[in-house]
Amino acid sequence: MTTASSRGTTSARPLRVLAAMSGGVDSAVAAARAAESGHEVTGVHLALSANPKSFRTGARGCCTVEDSNDARRAADVIGIPFYVWDLAERFREDVVEDFVAEYEAGRTPNPCLRCNEKIKFAALLDKALALGFDAVCTGHYATVVTREDGARELHRASDAAKDQSYVLGVLDERQLAHAMFPLGDTLTTKGEIRDEAERRGLSVAKKPDSHDICFIADGDTQGFLANRLGKAEGDIVDESGTHLGTHEGAYGFTIGQRKGLRLGHPAPDGKPRYVLDISPVDNTVTVGPAASLDVWSLTALNPRWCGEPPAAGPRTYTAQLRAHGAETEVEAELKDGTLHVHFSHPERGVAPGQALVLYDGTRVVGSATIASTERVAAGV
């Protein structure tokens, strides 16, 4: 059992904290809370777009000139120094190109996760540490708990509805040791964070939430991928291989997808059809009934542990398979670097490329990238 000796921003001594400020309300309030707790905070906005001006009309994400100005304004109100760091090249290599390559390979990546792993808690953290900072602070809703033995654990946010521990599940012990999430242990709704921003005089209080993918300014992921990968007509087939229609690029599909198949005629049984499989090799998309989506087990690669790797042998955890997804009970075992996972109840819409994050209660145990799925029930 864990004893929480410190949570959130409280700390015995003031730390030198680098607050990543996207220009949104959450990261602004997080920076303000860190500063209020007595830490020496410096704000930094990450310029992630190679050509920020081209994103000026985009309302989303963290790449526009307005977002940078909003972050600067918030830092001024909080009374902390503020800088813009150009990490566009690293972001392009590690997040955008990875995103495109994953889709091209028929997988479904989560770029936010990749950004936390490779940019915010790698490129940014490394530079921060080199410059003498102790920690990187973000507006994520998650909780870092320091055990009495000094080790750090990542937990779900107190507010389950806001919890973002899933996209932080890739952080290892070292990264966690330097992470600060001031919003994690507050039982608040977004409305209350906005009220707090208003009270603090932060003009971002009324700014709309960002969602979707920050580097796809218009939200049109399909269009973005088509532009990057080109159109490549291929077959849509059923489970028996019967040709049902054509598509303009297999990368445009996600496992479990129902809409946008444009098959024209209904299935013989009249039931909706879903994407079951995407094969980039022969550019074929397989569709079928919902029941065929049931996944009973999977393998996942590149496991990353928030602390010690689990002991040998199968162990029971809860798992989350996508951002804001529900928890499900699993039995997982690590064998030769591959995580073998069996579900207690079948899961639908499980796609290779997605991250599987394992929890022990509220504690994040670790994460891995789904490599393959199995649709037949089988014991461990």
Partner: protein, 395 residues
């Protein structure tokens, strides 16, 4: 973070504190009503203040009062000179579309020139510069000689805002005059640090601004030879020789003139006091960081007395700034940023500096409030800051 009350301000080239006398002039005038264009008593009083200020500023700059065109600052004066003279000269003879410009200009000139190329059919010829960013007179002559009749104007700054290099614009003006081509010089950084005589210089136009010499923000002037009538950027009430319309800001004009007078009166003293401080700073930095590179002309005769500009190999300029700021030392990388992201200095790139060295730069610019203690603070801080920034590396 450091208390601003204890900050070491070494960014006077960005802006320098107003002289108390200029503040007094300005506050006095702020309580007086009157539009200098009005015919009644209040207007006459305002006009008298404006015209006396014009005479004073003209005297400070070795110009005639009628050659002083007040503007909203240095950027506007540069734009008026570059675009206005281009339009006027091209309208008089459509063959004149060539613009000769140094590549180390401030963006107020650089971007105006590039705008002319993109929108007004200008053909820009960037004049070659030496390793210190100085336009070579023989290259200038060659560019003019090739076809003097197609040149609309030339523009070369008097002293560089980043690396402090002083150019002998008088020599260039003589050459330009031989070919009947107007030469504009941005003297925003030179005013108050160098001896500027507009009439003697032979220049067609010269830009100065208030807040770099201890005057107020938002006021500048284009000194403009009487034979030139640039096409205005601003149309309206026809003030300022019909070249720059808009009600004159009497308090700012008056305070600008006060600051201009003081800048000239105290220039010798400034050079005597600030020059050695700058030299001490250069020595201290090169001592503490042996591989630091002093950019610009190492000969004090060839650079602004208050400027010191360095490259620190393997460092990001931004990292240096952040670390110094945390110690209460306020300076600049010297170069412009795009959307908040520092760009490698176009000035250093034009002088042939390695692009990585053009990224890790710091400009320390001294002013009339600088002290020995400021220099000591830099001397103590710079070595550990550079070590740390170097560890953070280039992203």
């Amino acid at each position: 973070m450091a208390d601003t009350a204890h900050s070491v301000y070494l960014d006077h080239a960005a802006t320098t504190p107003m002289w108390p006398e200029a503040v007094r002039t300005m506050t006095e005038q702020l309580t007086v009503v009157g539009n200098a264009s009005s015919l009644h008593g209040a207007g006459r009083r305002a006009r008298r203040t404006v015209e006396e200020s014009r005479e004073s500023l003209a005297a400070s700059l070795g110009a005639r009062p009628s050659e002083v065109v007040f503007t909203g600052g240095g950027t506007e004066a540069d734009n008026l000179a570059v675009k206005g003279l281009y339009w006027a000269r091209r309208d008089a003879d459509e063959a004149r579309t060539r613009v000769l410009a140094s590549p180390v200009e401030h963006h107020a000139v650089l971007d105006a020139v590039e705008w002319l190329a993109e929108h007004e059919g200008a053909r820009v010829e960037w004049l070659p510069v030496d390793v210190y960013g100085r336009v070579r007179p023989d290259a200038f002559r060659e560019a003019l000689e090739r076809d003097p009749d197609d040149v609309a104007l030339a523009t070369v700054m008097w002293a560089n805002n980043e690396i402090g290099t002083v150019t002998d614009v008088r020599e260039l003006a003589q050459i330009a005059a031989e070919f009947g081509v107007p030469l504009h010089a941005d003297a925003v950084q030179a005013f108050g640090q160098l001896d500027i005589g507009f009439e003697d210089s032979g220049l067609a136009a010269l830009t100065v601004t208030g807040h770099k010499i201890g005057g107020p923000y938002g006021i500048g002037a284009l000194l403009l030879g009487r034979e030139y009538t640039p096409v205005p950027l601003l149309h309206g009430g026809g003030q300022e020789r019909h070249v720059r319309s808009g009600t004159l800001d009497t308090p700012a004009v008056a305070a600008f003139a006060t600051a201009g007078r003081l800048a000239v009166e105290r220039r010798d003293e400034f050079v005597r006091e600030v020059g050695p401080l700058r030299d001490a700073l250069v020595e201290a930095v090169l001592d503490a960081v042996p591989d630091a590179v002093l950019n610009g002309d190492p000969d004090p005769a060839g650079r602004l007395p208050a400027n010191a500009h360095f490259s620190f190999p393997g460092c990001e300029g931004d990292s240096l700034l952040l670390l110094l700021d945390a110690q209460g030392i306020e300076c600049s990388t010297g170069s412009a940023c795009t959307a908040g992201v520092a760009q490698p200095s176009h000035v250093l790139l034009a002088t042939g500096t390695d692009p990585d060295l053009a990224r890790g730069t710091l400009r320390f610019s001294l002013g009339h409030t600088s002290t020995k203690a400021d220099i000591e603070a830099v001397a103590e801080t710079i070595a550990p800051v550079v070590t740390r920034a170097r560890n953070a590396g280039l992203t």
